[in-house]
């Protein structure tokens, strides 16, 4: 199996978001909201850190 960096990030973000939602919330509605929020934050923060490091790679 071979995954790109972004595909690995998507997999990790999705699984961790769902697990954290079930660990920290009790109602299904709250879990859904939390999972979506955590997933988007994972992506946003990872992309933001990637862009912050971009000048260092040149």
């Amino acid at each position: 199996m071979n995954l790109s960096h972004f595909q690995t990030l998507l997999l990790l973000a999705f699984v961790i978001s769902v697990a954290f939602a079930f660990l920290s919330k009790r109602r299904m509605g709250d879990r859904g909201k939390y999972a979506v929020w955590a997933f988007l934050m994972f992506l946003l923060v990872a992309v933001a850190i990637g862009w912050l490091m971009y000048p260092l790679s040149r």
Binding site: L3, L11, L12, V15, V18, L23, R26
Partner: protein, 136 residues
Amino acid sequence: MADAKQKKPESSAGNAARAWGATVAGWLVPGLGHLMLRKWGRAAVYFLCVGILAVAGLALRGNIFSSHESDAFGVLGFLADLGAGIFYFVARFIENGGPDVSHAAGDYGTRLFATAGVLNLLCALDAHEIARERKA
């Protein structure tokens, strides 16, 4: 009233044994601790989450640390991997052609498997808290 006071230490000891049983079972097989506590949905979700990460880590040919690591990072990696319970033992048994961290995917696999282990430890602690009735 007096009966209730006399029964409390026994019930507390039973509760502690049940909590530790659920914790160890949850560590050994992800979700089993919750299954013992009749939390069917959470048991399935935790098993799938830990399983997906562990299998992906193995399929990407990540490094599965052994107990013979010489440096501190290796020992930490071993402890994180060991957290995956049965997935760790199966991964060590299968070996899957050995790790290949010469490519980026192999390195991602190492991290995914370690994440599965740490996540499973969190789930086992969750089962402990539920059994102790500190959490619903």
